[in-house]
Every structure is written in C-alpha cells, then in structure tokens.
C-alpha cells in the first residue's frame, strides 16, 4: 500500500469541456479518502485519471514514489471497482477474481491461495463456481471487490460501488467495505455522490464541485466548519438552513437579524470568529443546521434572545425525533451554488427554492426532540443554538471564521451531543 498524491491535477476533454481543475490532494497510506460531489462534478474523472483510464491534461499523479502520469493502467498497480461491477460475464467468479493474477503468470498454487483468501475475506467461497448472471447485486459487488483485493495493489479505487444496490443492502455493504478496508489497511479512494456514504465511510472527505476541490477534511471538520456555502449545504441531512441575515451591534451586544427576528450572538462565538466584526451592518449568509435548533420548551438553558416564535407549516414525526417546517420572513440564500444543490435534489426542490426567494420567505427545517408538542398549523417557539451558527460572505460564499480557520471548533456539535445522549 502506498500514499497517493495529486498535484494540481486537471483534465480538459478534447471537445473543450473542463472536467477537473487544480485538484491537489494527499491521500496518506492506509487512508480511505472519499471524493464526494454532485453528479457531473468531475470526481469520477479524477478517479479515472488515477487509474490511467483517462489521461491527465495537467498536473501530476504520484502513487507510492512513482509519478504515474505516463504509465498504462497495467503499470500503475492500482485496482478499481466499477459502478456496474464490470464482471466478465463469460467467466466464473473464480476466473473473474483470478484473471489479473493469471495475466501476470502467478504460479498456480499461489493464485489458488490468493483467490481463496480474497473469497474468504468477502465471504463468497461458495460462489466461486458460479457465473456473474447467477449472482445477486450484493454478491456481484463482493466479486468486484474480490477482483480488486486479490491483487494486493498499491491502492483501491472505487467508483460509486454501492449505487446499484437497494437501500438496505447499501448500508450493509457500506460497513462491509469499511471493515475490509480496515482489515487490509488499504489506501482507498472512494467516489460517491451520496454525502451520507461519504460521512460514514471516509477517514477524509474531499468535496468537489464543478471540477474544483471545495474542502478536504475529516467528516467532523466538514460538518462543523464548512468552508463555503456549497459544502455547508451539501454535507448534512437534512441540509443546513441558509438564509440572508444582517449582523448589527446594539446596546446588548452583537446580534443577528433574520427577518423580523433578533438573535443574540454569544460572546464566545465572536471571540472565536473575529472576522465577523468586519461584517457589521452588512448582509451575510446565516446558516443553522436543523439539529442545532430545538423546541424552546425542551431546550435546557434556552435564552429568550435566541428564540424565534413561528407558525409550524408542517411536521414529520420520525419517532426518535420530529422534523418541524416553518417559514421565516427572510430570503433564502440564492447563490448559484445553492441553486445547484437544490437542482441536484430534483426539480421540485429547485422550484421550491425559487418560490422562497421570490416571496422572500425562507423555509426552515428544525430537528427537535420527539417529545416536542409542535404540530402543523400551530405556533411554536424554536430555540436556536447560536454557538453552532455558521456565517458566510454572501458574495463569495466563503465561510467567515476569522483567525480560527481550519481549526476544529472546541464546541461540541449537536451531532456529538446527540450521540452522547
């Protein structure tokens, strides 16, 4: 296994389409790096360039201690798992897994030993004589993995390996992949468009959009300190609420004005994010995650100056929690990035966002405790945990952190608190 380094990687297709620009990434030995982004963002192209199926038009790819740009896939010694598995239909499972070794003229008994070993790791020993068409989706997926691990390559490349499975199987295979990766200590690059997959699987996650790297970090870093509105909106489910707000100082201190609401900003947040002071009396993008809101009745130590009184338009009881929808009379953030994210979710989401922008009323989702009595059509008081509020420059979409950019927030996030409970 080896480290993989991408230096200023770029790809422009012959027809002039720019797929990837300036991607620099270090994937340390044994790390599972997830490349995540909306469809068509260039993440698969990055993977294919590493595999050697696509020629990089600029930059360098280093696998181990070799620059592999000019090498054929055969010489690069990386294994790839394809989205549709790409199993050879005319070969048995055994032959599928053994092919790469056979090509390299591995001695028969070693070949046999390694195939059996791979099959054992994946739990497909009893399928070796079958052909791909006789296997279920999950089994095919395992065979595809087997074909990769039997080679003991420098790195594994996985291109949306779970997207052809049904939801239940996907969750199961997800933990399976994590287990195998851990067992083998394999440097792995995993491409997906599913942020849940990225968060649950990745040691490191790289968010890519329009061929450019947006942010790289651990799942927690991306969740707590998204570097821009795109990452903020992309990571987390339900997505972060993003709306236009104004920062202002009054006699009680600095506060965020969202529509008709005034939300006091705790001093610790200000101390942590000096740069916010530069945005006083200017509109900013204010982001708050659904899980950082709580029914005021349930919130311990709720302060009046962080409560909004709203009319619940709609609620969804999830059993363990309650999703509460309400409108706030402030426009949603309506930048190109956010529109793109909405479009990714479907036409309805985009249309809804457009309506919200037109009517200057943002739809907010709050994730509150299951015991909340908030119900559709009734008023509710929602407490907003301002310590976990996010602020972004409206023009650039960049996060406003001040001095502490890149340092994980010392405050426990809602996610962690929930886990502790």
């Amino acid at each position: 296994m080896s480290q993989i380094v991408l230096e200023d990687l770029g790809k422009t297709f012959p027809d002039g389409t720019v797929a990837v620009t300036g991607v620099s990434l270090v994937i340390p030995d044994g790390t599972l790096m997830v490349l995540v982004g909306p469809s068509g963002c260039g993440k698969t192209t990055v993977l294919r360039m590493i595999a050697g199926l696509e020629q990089a038009t600029s930059g360098r790819i280093v696998v181990g201690d070799r620059v592999v740009n000019e090498l054929t896939p055969r010489e690069r010694d990386v294994a790839m798992v394809f989205q549709n598995y790409a199993l050879y239909p005319h070969m048995t499972v055994y032959q599928n897994i053994a092919l790469s070794l056979k090509i390299r003229h591995a001695p028969r008994d070693e070949l046999n030993r390694r195939v059996t070993e791979a099959a054992r790791i994946l739990g497909i020993e009893d399928l070796l004589k079958r052909r791909p068409r006789e296997l279920s989706g999950g089994q095919r997926q395992r065979v595809a993995m087997g074909r990769a691990i039997v080679r003991h390559p420098q790195a594994f490349l996985m291109d949306e390996p779970l997207s052809n499975l049904d939801a239940k199987l996907r969750v199961q295979m997800r933990s399976e992949i994590a287990r195998i990766q851990r067992e083998l200590g394999a440097t792995t690059i995993y491409v997906t468009h599913d942020q849940t997959e990225a968060m649950t699987l990745g040691h490191q996650v790289a968010v890519i959009q329009k061929g450019e790297l947006q942010q790289v970090g651990s799942p927690q870093e991306l969740y707590r300190q998204p570097r821009n509105t795109f990452v903020a909106g992309f990571i987390g489910s339900p997505a972060m609420n993003l709306l236009e707000a104004r920062l202002a100082r009054d006699d009680q201190g600095v506060a965020v004005y969202v529509g008709g609401h005034r939300l006091a900003l705790p001093d610790e947040v200000l101390a942590d994010r000096q740069a916010l002071l530069g945005y006083l009396d200017r509109p900013v993008a204010f982001g708050i995650r659904p899980e950082d809101m709580e029914d005021a009745e349930l919130a311990m130590g709720a302060q009046d100056d962080a409560i909004v009184r709203v009319a619940v338009t709609h609620h969804e009881d999830m059993g363990s929690e309650l999703l509460v929808y309400f409108d706030i009379d402030a426009p949603p953030v309506f930048t190109e990035d956010i529109q793109g994210l909405a479009a990714e979710q479907g036409e309805d989401a985009l249309r809804s966002l457009e309506e919200q922008a037109k009517s200057q009323r943002a739809r907010i989702i709050a994730r509150v405790g299951a015991r909340s009595r908030a119900r559709s059509g009734h008023p509710a008081a929602v407490h907003i945990d301002m310590r976990n509020a996010h602020f972004f420059d409206l023009a650039t979409g960049e996060a406003i952190y001040g001095d502490s950019v890149g340092v994980a927030s010392p405050l426990p996030s809602a996610m962690e608190r929930r886990r502790e409970q």
């Binding site: 055969r74 990386v78 549709n84 050879y88 092919l99 074909r147 080679r151």
Partner: protein, 307 residues
C-alpha cells in the same frame, strides 16, 4: 361522426357481466379458424419449398432405366424404393463423392477459420479502440461492399494465376484471411454493444489490448461469430464459381462443382444417382442449421436489437 359498432371482442374489459356461453364458443371458434388459416398458409409455403426436394427424392429412388423427367412430374415416390442408390452414388467410380465432400469440408472450415480470425481482429479496434482516421477507414471498408463481385472475377483470376495459385485451394481460402467487409461490419456492431467498462476493468486488471480482445471481447462475441461462421459455411458449401475458376483436377473438386460436372455429363450418366448425391450433399448444411439454429436466431435477434 361515425358511430362505431362494438363487436363482442372489443367490449371494454371493465364490463363485469360474464360473457355468455354462446359468446365464449364464438370467440373460441374464431380463434380456431384463425389458427387453421395460419397453418394452411405456412403449409402452402412449406410445400412450395419442399416439393422440388420431394421430386429429387422420387428421382433418386428410381432404378437406372426408369424415366425421370415425366410429364406430369412425379412429386412423390410411389413405385420405386431403391434406397441403395444413395450408397451407389457415394461409391460411383467416375464420381469420387467422398473425396468431394472432404475437399469441400476442408475449404469450408479453412474459410470459417480465416473469416473468424481476420474479421474479428479488424472489427475489434474499429469497435473498441480510439485511433486517428478510425471513422474514414471504416467507411472506406464499407464502401468496398459496393464493388460488385462480378467486376472482380477477371482481375482476381489473373492475379491469382500469376501468383501461381491456379489449380490450388489457395485462391479459395486465402482471401478469407483478408477479411470480409460485411462480416467486419456485423462483428463491429456487436462488439460496440459490449459494455465499455469491461475493457476498462480489464485494462486496470493488467490486460493489454490483445489480451482484452482474446480473453474478454472474443468470448463475448460468440453469438455474432456463430452467425458469421454459419453464413461462411453455407456460402462456401454452395460456392460453384470459385472452385470452377481455380480448380482443374477432379480430385480437388468440391461437391458443388462435382455435382455440376456430373450433371453436365448426365446424358451418359445416371440422373437417379445424381439426385441421390444432391440429397446427401444437402445434409451437412441442414445439420449445421439444426444444431446452431437456436444460437443463430438468438445471434441475429440481438444483432437486430443492438445494431
């Protein structure tokens, strides 16, 4: 506006009233009539095709001196049952039937081998690889199909003659190793329908282009290769002109030319034996068809879908 009268068959399915017995019988009766008509049509067509064969069989079973070309023709064997005519045809001294069969099989299989190797080798890069001038070259190949073979017969003959190949099997076999535009086209179309990811997976697995062709693409192209093999088999089995032009020794003759020769001399020969030989020579293609029928239809069907 025209009022459309609803026949019982086109009653909407929503009607809950169960159809009366009479109506059920009427419907069933109609179905039977349809079926019978259909069979009559098929049988007529079959008879049209099989009657000459039946006439051949009648002739083949006649004794040496019985008149063959009677008017009206005798379509079915009725009086004579000389089955040993078939054996006599195979061992007739002036007509080395078995020799012809072996020669023909040799030419046929050499051609199949040539076609399969050359056409798949050419089709593979056209279908799966990227290279400069791929499209123009392919169109050039397709255009060669437009040259009528009649135009090529004479120059080809001189060409092979000057190579010293006259009187050998080479002119009948070697061209197959040079490919055939139509088969290349057919195989390319089929290969294009094989998922691209298989090549990519194979490349990542460490296969080079030839190994991908040999281990992945070729085995997956068996349906279309079968089609090409069968077409080549039939085409060469029935080929009369080629052997007629290039072969000059009775021992080299293929079955088609052998039968033709025998027919020309039938004035002093035995038409009943000729017919028997004819019938025997029809057997191998028939067997090929029967054995590969399912595959062949499958292959042609997928070609139709994916081409």
């Amino acid at each position: 506006m025209e009022v459309i009268e609803r026949s019982p068959e086109t009653q909407p399915a929503l009607v809950v009233v169960p159809p009366s017995r009479a109506r059920v019988f009427a419907r069933r009766g109609l179905a039977i009539v349809k079926e019978v008509c259909w069979y009559l049509v098929v049988l007529t067509v079959c008879a049209f095709i099989l009657l000459p064969v039946s006439w051949m069989l009648t002739a083949a079973l006649k004794p040496d001196l019985a008149p063959i070309y009677t008017i009206p023709p005798q379509w079915f064997p009725s009086h004579f049952w000389h089955w040993n005519n078939f054996y006599r045809a195979m061992v007739y001294p002036l007509f080395p039937f078995l020799r012809y069969m072996i020669n023909t099989l040799f030419v046929v299989f050499a051609n199949i081998l040539g076609i399969l190797i050359s056409c798949s080798l050419v089709a593979y890069p056209f279908a799966r690889m990227k290279f400069r001038f791929r499209e123009p070259l392919f169109y050039l190949l397709i255009i060669t199909m437009l040259v009528p073979w009649q135009a090529l017969v004479v120059p080809q003959f001189f060409f092979f003659y000057h190579l010293g190949w006259y009187g050998t099997y080479l002119p009948l076999i070697v061209p197959a190793f040079g490919g055939n535009a139509f088969f290349i086209f057919l195989i390319r179309q089929y290969m294009r329908s094989i998922p691209k990811e298989l090549d990519e997976a194979a490349r990542v697995d460490g296969l080079n282009y030839f190994q991908i062709y040999w281990r992945i693409i070729l085995p997956l192209s068996v349906p279309v290769l079968t089609v090409c093999a069968v077409f080549t088999f039939i085409g060469n089995w029935n080929n009369l002109l080629g052997p007629l032009l290039y072969l000059n020794n009775n021992n080299q003759f293929t079955i088609a030319i052998g039968l033709a020769n025998m027919f020309q001399n039938s004035a002093n020969s035995k038409t009943n034996l000729l017919m028997a030989a004819n019938l025997i020579s029809m057997i191998p293609p028939a067997i090929v068809f029967l054995v590969i029928q399912k595959r062949l239809i499958g292959g042609i069907a997928t070609l139709g879908l994916k081409g």
